[in-house]
């Protein structure tokens, strides 16, 4: 048994997935947050001071799944094809049960995304309800199911479950629009002095989030994302699309790699 996130010197290292077969991968994670019966009633009745608790926690869970690679150091950035976060109000167990489902076609598993979605959805539930109940407990965050990839299907052994999750599907599922999730983002890279001035090395954006699929619109979008937009206005800013230098405006497509950098000074 070896830990794949450690190299031969025992240092942390990201696993190279370029040789892994792309396959259909799914993961389901669950967790629960235990609260006072009165808190649960307020939540069920929609009377929480901060408003629609479940809708907010669902969006938080979906967003967290999409940003897992920013939180977990050695986790790859994945293009999820589906994220769903479901809630079940368990009156008898005075808790909210959270279930996250993640799917993608890719080279690495999605269990970290599903676990992150559950964790952040639980934290958001805590945040939304803490004004009335500080003693809530987040419990039993765990993987239930994983499929795809070399290790095949993995299921939690339910015979040792103390309180198996109710398998009823709730009607709260709101998957992300799939056309957006299936589109490859434009990858943006910055080099040398420009990278230092922006304080950013890489960005990515879906073409649909630009005002038009052009280099000029991308520059405007970058300026709206950074603390030092004036760095993008240097007259000698150079640009390459997919490793080819471009001058003036140009059309961009999904999956393009766009790099911005100052004049070159090698040799």
């Amino acid at each position: 048994m070896t830990l794949t996130h450690l190299n031969e010197r025992g240092e942390a290292s990201m696993v190279d997935v370029s040789d892994k077969q792309s396959s259909h991968r799914e993961a389901i994670a669950t967790g629960r947050i235990v609260m006072q019966p009165d808190t649960l009633k307020l939540l069920a009745d929609g009377d929480m001071p901060k408003g629609d608790v479940l809708a907010t926690a669902r969006i938080a869970g979906i967003q967290a799944a999409k940003r897992t690679h920013e939180l977990i150091p050695l986790c790859h950035a994945l293009m999820l094809s589906k994220v769903a976060v479901d809630f079940e109000l368990d009156i008898a167990g005075h808790c909210v049960r959270v279930k996250a489902f993640c799917r993608l076609e890719g080279r690495t598993g999605v269990e970290m995304e599903a676990l992150t979605a559950v964790s952040v959805a639980c934290l958001t539930l805590y945040d939304m309800c803490k004004a009335v109940d500080r003693g809530m407990e987040i419990m039993d965050v765990r993987l239930e199911h994983k499929s795809g990839g070399q290790s095949g299907v993995w299921e939690r052994d339910t015979t040792v479950e103390s309180s198996p999750l109710d398998t009823r599907e709730t009607s709260l599922e709101t998957p992300e629009p799939s056309d957006e999730l299936n589109e490859s983002p434009i990858q943006i890279r910055f080099f040398a002095e420009l990278r230092e001035r922006l304080g950013i090395e890489k960005l990515s954006v879906l073409p649909g989030h630009l005002s038009s699929p052009t280099l000029s619109a991308l520059k405007e979008w970058i300026k709206s994302q950074v603390d030092t937009p004036e760095a993008m206005d240097q007259p000698r800013l150079l640009c390459a699309i997919n490793h080819d230098m471009v001058q003036g405006d140009a059309a961009l497509g999904a999956g393009d790699e766009v790099a911005f950098f100052p004049p070159v000074t090698g040799g």
Partner: protein
């Protein structure tokens, strides 16, 4: 990575025609952190063919004065993928203009101190004029279009090196021809 004696097969070698003598021409582009041995590169260049009558090599080095009078070190950065492609394009352009037998470009990246070699360009041809010109052409375009950036370190702090008008002016020589 190029290590001495272990030369990377260029991904651009398919662009190059077979030598008239049936010999596969040597065509190396390497970007590496390690120092290079110019003698080993020369042997590599001339070792395989006898149609070469001239070799011109250029070595660029770190000097202790540039924009600041007391440069203590420099850091070189590149754009992986694009840099190799840009260098391949430059060599191809040189081949379109001159009868080049073999060519090697090795460019170092990372931290270097005054006296260290940065870049080596070696070109072999049948006659000397083509070798001189092709080597100068490759260096002129390397300095102005290959994505490398230098940061110079001094006792007073570090700064990114600015482009030089003289480097851009050097390109005009090739446009006029």
């Amino acid at each position: 990575m190029l290590r001495l004696g272990l030369v990377m097969k260029s991904p651009f070698s398919h662009l190059l025609p077979e030598a008239d003598h049936g010999r596969q021409k040597i065509y190396v582009i390497a970007i590496q952190r390690e120092p290079f041995d110019i003698g080993a590169l020369y042997q590599r260049l001339v070792g395989e063919g006898h149609e070469t009558g001239a070799v011109v090599s250029f070595v660029g080095r770190v000097r202790d004065f540039n924009e600041s009078p007391e440069v203590t070190a420099l850091t070189l950065e590149h754009y992986p993928g694009m840099t190799e492609r840009a260098l391949g394009d430059i060599v191809q352009q040189a081949r379109d203009r001159w009868q080049i037998n073999d060519a090697i470009i090795v460019h170092r990246i990372g931290y270097m101190t005054p006296g260290d070699d940065i870049v080596a360009v070696l070109v072999s041809t049948a006659h000397r004029h083509a070798a001189f010109e092709a080597c100068a052409f490759i260096m002129d375009f390397l300095k102005t279009s290959a994505p490398f950036w230098k940061k110079e370190h001094t006792h007073g702090g570090a700064y990114w090196v600015r482009e030089r008008e003289s480097d851009l002016a050097s390109l005009k020589r090739w446009e006029q021809q």
